[in-house]
Symmetry: C2
Subunit: 296 residues, 2 copies
């Protein structure tokens, strides 16, 4: 066996993402010799023990990070700052701190003030997920052929980037290094806005008069079903994402609303050409996605 | 073998829906002894012959309906009136005319003027589909466990409703009899609005600056991918749906836009409670869908 990338990896927050990381390491010990899971929720700790997906489990993140070479924060982005503040003083000199948050500017702003000169902070965002959450939801192939976006801060060392690159490559992802603000803008349109729309349309349906509402449930055709698939994702995670990528999401929502209004106008005035063009553009984007092999 | 429901069924428009009907009958001859397909596009006719999914194929709908007990219009809703006008004078006395359109008020308005007293018109809407189109896209189990909504006109006979009920039950669907306007309102929210949003968000992404746009393709996470799946549906079909269920779609889009603006305001003013409630309602609707067994 080659030298493992890390000796001891700690995953704080063994939910969908965190427990998938743990499962992958369990299958491939060239990633880490030893794994530790930490979660402040005792039921999550208990479940991780039952699933036996970590070598050691702590309820206290501070205790868990002792002697770790790498600590992965896989918690809602709104909780990152507080946890980083508590654990960093207890981390080993030279250890790497990384995260899996979907928003990067806010996470970096929250964590950076607590990063001491002997710790390397490497912000990362594995773009993978399902509509399920919690330690039972994870699986070892979750990251296979997906992207992991790394957004270094001015203090992130090249050695740190290289290590986290290797780590996520071993998880099965392709790697891109991205500018922080640019990351947040791209994710606002490809992920955050679709989720916001999905939650919203469910509410629109929910507020229909009683008879129509029950029929929405009965007749949910593929359109609505696809939308609500996204809408069953973890509430705390998404509340935090919306609040922590505020500017980019509001900008993309404003653009989307303009486009939706233009479509409404075209429908009202029976502008067949505009409607057809809009539909065909949608299909083109879809085709590009297939060509880019982002689809199964 | 029991007496078949029909002797001779004609499917006009052997696309995703139409070719699925033909395939189902081919597998289960208790639905119809003989099938005919008709399409004005010679390439579609040729392909249906190659696939050998109909007993007879015509390019001229008028010729195809001769001696049929049941004619199924499986064409874009905007084309229904013209085709009905042409074929009805050539249909057998007592034959049933039915359709598969996603909008019912407009289709009934378009067809009814041409329906003679010796023809029974039974408007129907099988709620099934995929993002693919054309005769190759169909498959015999497309309708399995889905809904077929029947929206009788004042002239539709009970005998006609019973026959089409049997026909769609044999296709695998559950049946509901629905008021016409009510059908259009429910479908506006469960199907038409989600498609409109899907096409629109693709356009929003497409109009981003070049660099961000190419990255949308690269990083399309599950949210965007689910949206664009719907967006690859047939353009003519959807243009027609938007134009033919105009009032209901515009009303639902207006309600949705209000809800999206309320969400934007909550994000801007960091109203955590509102955001969390919106997300949780979305999850509840999703859970109801699972309880209703509308999901695989």
């Amino acid at each position: 066996m080659n030298t493992p990338i890390f000796n001891r990896v700690v995953v704080i927050g063994p939910g969908l993402i965190g427990s998938s990381i743990l499962r992958r390491i369990q299958k491939d010990r060239s990633i880490a010799l030893y794994t530790v899971a930490a979660d402040t929720n005792p039921q999550v700790c208990e479940r991780v023990r039952e699933l036996a997906i970590a070598d050691e489990v702590y309820q206290d993140p501070v205790q868990s990070v002792k002697d770790a070479d790498c600590v992965v924060l896989a918690i809602p982005v709104g909780a990152m700052g507080e946890v980083a503040k508590n654990i960093i003083p207890h981390m080993k000199k030279g250890a790497i701190l990384t995260d899996t948050g979907s928003t990067k500017e806010s996470v970096i702003k929250a964590i950076e003030p607590y990063v001491t000169s002997d710790i390397v902070f490497v912000p990362a965002h594995p773009m993978a997920g399902t509509e399920f959450s919690g330690p039972d939801a994870g699986f070892e192939s979750l990251f296979e052929n997906r992207w992991c976006l790394i957004t270094p801060t001015p203090h992130t060392t090249q050695a740190g980037i290289d290590k986290i690159t290797k780590f996520w490559q071993a998880m099965g992802t392709n790697i891109r290094i991205l500018d922080i603000k640019h990351h947040d803008k791209v994710c606002a349109i490809v992920s955050h806005l679709p989720h916001l729309i999905a939650f919203t349309i469910c509410n629109t349906a929910d507020s229909l008069e009683d008879e129509a509402r029950s029929e929405v449930l009965d007749y949910a055709a593929s359109g609505f079903r696809d939308f609500t698939r996204v809408a069953s994702s973890d509430p705390t995670m998404w509340r935090d994402v919306f609040l922590n990528n505020r500017e980019a999401i509001l900008e993309m929502l404003a653009r989307f609303t303009e486009d939706a209004q233009a479509m409404a106008k075209a429908i009202r005035w029976k502008d067949e050409d505009y409607i057809t063009q809009t539909i065909q553009k949608g299909r083109r984007i879809r085709k590009s996605l297939i060509d880019n092999k982002q689809l199964q």
